[in-house]
């Protein structure tokens, strides 16, 4: 949760960084696209149900790391891109607490995992059994 907050702040920083550090053109465009994406992924992944989405921020962090070389820019923009990229990629590895249970999560919708897991079959057979019941 805290990691997602830091990621969101870094994403928003990327949106204002071109104005604050005074760089434009291709470096600014990279940050103005990566920034909102990183912040949005972080906000959505803050919810336990969507926590696996954090891995998208690993990809976006790696992009920031590569951007100065790929797009060919230097100076403050490159330093910022690399530092933020390392931070976002590292933060995305930090899962944070997941305390709620979601009936096996998204993977049970997937046929291969269905074939794999005895417990998931148990879970599905649990329909109508007592453990799921509440007052009506």
């Amino acid at each position: 949760m805290i990691a997602r907050l830091f990621e969101a702040v870094l994403g928003i920083w990327l949106m204002v960084a071109p104005a604050v550090l005074g760089y434009g053109s291709v470096a600014a465009t990279s940050d103005r696209i990566a920034g909102p994406l990183i912040a949005s992924v972080a906000i959505v992944a803050a919810w336990e149900i969507a926590r696996p989405l954090r891995h998208l921020n690993l990809l976006l962090g790696l992009w920031l790391l590569a951007a100065p070389v790929v797009l060919g820019f230097g100076g403050a923009a490159a330093v910022d891109s690399v530092l933020v990229g390392i931070a976002v990629a590292a933060l995305s590895r930090w899962r944070g607490r997941v305390e709620s249970r979601f009936g096996g999560g998204w993977s049970v919708l997937w046929p291969p995992s269905w074939a794999r897991g005895e417990e998931q079959r148990e879970l599905f057979a649990a329909e109508g059994r007592d453990d799921g019941r509440r007052q009506g």
Binding site: M15, P18, A28, T29, R32, I33, P36, L37, S40, I43, V44, A45, A46, W47, I49, A50, E99, S100, R101, F102, G103, G104, G105, W106, V108, L109, W114, L123, F124, A126, E127, G128, R129, D131, G132, R133, R134, Q135, G136
Partner: protein, 184 residues
């Protein structure tokens, strides 16, 4: 197939909470209504009903963004479309009872379809503002934040409904009938 007792439970099998409880849904509906207000205000400007738009940070940014070529790409202005999207979120968020993840999967799926794409379009518009026009628009950013905030909490209900349909299928029932909330 699920027995009649199944009618009585609210928490999905293997879940720690009921994703269709009012405690989980009402905050999303409230957020959607704030979205309706913000997008409605912005579309009043786009329709020419009000002459100026509130912009505390970015000078002429809001006016430039709201009158940009992208904002007129569709027959109706983009803020009006956003307002309709938030309205769809609020309506599909409030319909149905606490068991709607299994009693009305269709409305939960509709809710997911309303929340997901609206969020995606909002993120896209946030990227376009500075990239194409070099400007930001405060209330447009607020609106985007609202639509992104709604995605996470909407997902759990969607997952519960999809797991329910999968369960019906695995147990040999009709997914079509279950989708519309009809039993056997």
């Amino acid at each position: 197939m699920p027995g009649p007792r199944e009618q009585n439970y609210l928490t999905p099998p293997g879940w720690s909470a009921n994703p269709s409880s009012w405690g989980q849904r009402l905050p999303i509906v409230a957020l959607a209504l704030v979205g309706v207000a913000v997008a409605g205000y912005l579309s009043l400007f786009q329709f020419g009903v009000i002459a100026t738009v509130w912009e505390p940070f970015f000078g002429d940014g809001s006016r430039k963004i709201l009158t940009s070529s992208v904002s007129r790409i569709l027959p109706i202005p983009d803020a009006a479309l956003g307002g309709l999207g938030y309205l769809a979120d609020a309506v599909t968020g409030v319909i149905g009872g606490r068991a709607r993840w299994r009693a009305m999967p269709w409305i939960v799926v509709l809710f997911g379809l309303a929340v997901g794409p609206l969020g995606a379009v909002s993120i896209l518009l946030v990227m376009l503002q500075p990239v194409l026009f070099g400007e930001f628009c405060t209330l447009c950013l607020v609106s985007a934040l609202i639509s992104v905030l709604m995605i996470g909490p909407a997902l759990d209900e969607l997952l519960a409904a999809l797991q329910h349909l999968k369960r019906v299928r695995v147990n040999g029932g009709s997914v079509w009938r279950a989708f519309w909330g009809r039993g056997k």
